[in-house]
Symmetry: C2
Subunit: 154 residues, 2 copies
């Protein structure tokens, strides 16, 4: 995941956004923002299910917990290159992505790897029992927050 992400983001930086779509630079950037926001929505949905179970707001259900954790795993495996073209930052309306994502690259790849690892740990724990799920929540929430804190504007 680390190497793959680094490779694909490097590819994205090399390509630049304008080359990705023939129908215009800004439309390509907006499309990329929408796609990754879709990914965030899916992260949020599945994390919300696990969080609600962890907090006792929803009855623990082994199958539903496993499904949500597996979804997080699959989502964290998505190739990110086409969704993060250079320039698709918070200079665009609707994006809170700090330009530091690109200027400090590949630092963000380390955080992406942490997220992927935390999702894998959750997938190994979520279906076992509530205590295991609860134990995996902290690192997973921490991995989300780590990236948002560093790279998402308020």
């Amino acid at each position: 995941m680390n190497i793959k992400l680094a490779t694909t983001i490097t590819l994205s930086l090399a390509l630049g956004a304008g080359a990705v779509f023939a129908d215009g630079h800004s439309k390509a950037l907006e499309g990329a923002v929408k796609a990754r926001q879709g990914q965030m929505q899916l992260y949020s949905h599945n994390l919300g299910i696990l969080g609600a179970m962890a907090k006792g707001q929803m009855d623990y259900d082994s199958g539903a917990a496993q499904a949500a954790a597996d979804n997080l795993m699959a989502l964290s495996s998505l190739d990110a290159a086409s969704m993060w073209p250079q320039g698709s930052d918070n200079s665009l309306e609707g994006s809170r992505a700090k330009p530091e994502i690109w200027t400090t690259f590949p630092e963000i790849a380390t955080k992406a790897k942490a997220m992927s690892d935390a999702a894998a740990a959750m997938a190994a724990a979520a279906g076992t029992d509530l205590a295991s799920l609860q134990g995996a929540m902290g690192p997973l929430g921490g991995a989300c927050g780590s990236c948002h804190k560093a790279y998402r504007s308020r």
Copy 2:
């Protein structure tokens, strides 16, 4: 995928939406709609890349094509149960999902399986060459359209 989807959608029908979240029935339904729209956004983004290459609007790039196809595969593997609770249809503002999705269930599982199969065929073809990618586009677009035609209101 077929059995898994059928199982998970059955689970969703059995649970009903209201039981899934503690913070209210309508909020749970809206959250489910947002999540699956996120998934559709991601489908659209990755299919757009493949479609642009197929049409010659974007230069064929083996790595980028493979990445987009692999993303489609991963997206089609997501467990759908929590995103399609009964009642999350076009009676909600912002959703175009016809109630027939639930009344004709499990017919939709057949279409989901066709989508998954078409994504797998694209993943096997996209990185080979442009002609192979182009050959896999028809079935993939057809699988998307088949479900939208039957189950999405205009």
